[in-house]
């Protein structure tokens, strides 16, 4: 845990949608970049975004805010945001913040793909 935090953000196209994969720790110093990259993804006008957080070990409230802002931007155009496979720690944070009531969280990429059109 005391190893230096790093966050990798990879965006790829799948049909008319985007998959954004987060790997590492969305700690406070990376959240501006996370916010910019997620808004860039929204700006590409995809049919929906799948946010793969299966390798995300940590997220602070700034990172959560970036995810919520992405959800709100997509919702304006009735496009879905699907959160995929949160780790137990991140899932617990969604429970504590009650974001599970707002965001669609899926156990697998296949389940998310069924919700987000290609």
């Amino acid at each position: 845990m005391s190893t230096p935090d790093k966050l990798s953000i990879e965006t790829r196209t799948t049909g008319n949608s985007l998959v954004v994969a987060l790997d590492g720790s969305a700690s406070m110093e990376y959240c501006d970049r996370l916010s910019v990259e997620l808004m860039d993804a929204v700006g590409q006008k995809p049919e929906g975004i799948i946010l793969d957080v299966s390798n995300l070990t940590f997220i602070c409230s700034l990172g959560i805010g970036a995810v919520v802002a992405t959800f709100l931007e997509l919702r304006k155009d009735r496009k879905p945001l699907a959160i995929v496979a949160p780790t137990p720690e991140v899932r617990d944070m969604f429970t504590v913040t009650k974001l599970g009531q707002l965001l669609d969280v899926y156990e697998s990429m296949d389940a998310a793909r069924a919700r987000v059109p290609d």
Partner: protein, 143 residues
Amino acid sequence: MVQPDPNNEDTFKEVTVQSTLHAAKEPEKIILKDIEKHGFNSDAIFAIKLALEEAMTNAVKHGNRGDESKFVHVRFAVSSACVVIIVRDDGPGFDPGDVPDPTTPDRLSQPNGRGIMLMNAYMDEVKYRDNGREVYMLKKNGD
């Protein structure tokens, strides 16, 4: 040399950093290394890292209002039983009672405002002092 004692704030170690999110990582690295040495479990380490990030973010963005000429002062002490962390900013303070609950239906979709509730949820004690300029947080080992 007097060993830092969570029950005696006069013995605490202190780290002061410039009020930026990058500089704010320095106390976190030091404290996490210390709590690992004291055998805190991974759940407690996650909780402490989260609460400390939220406290530092609040100090930089809200307390010091993004003014990079200001500082954030962190005092802490770790024992095998618990860790106490005190984060202080140079800002005018605030009333934590004025911060709305971010989990109510009307606020759930707000992008901001979850830091304080996360600190409260993940730490065993959180207290605001000196008109909100200082936050005291305690986490027991094993929780």
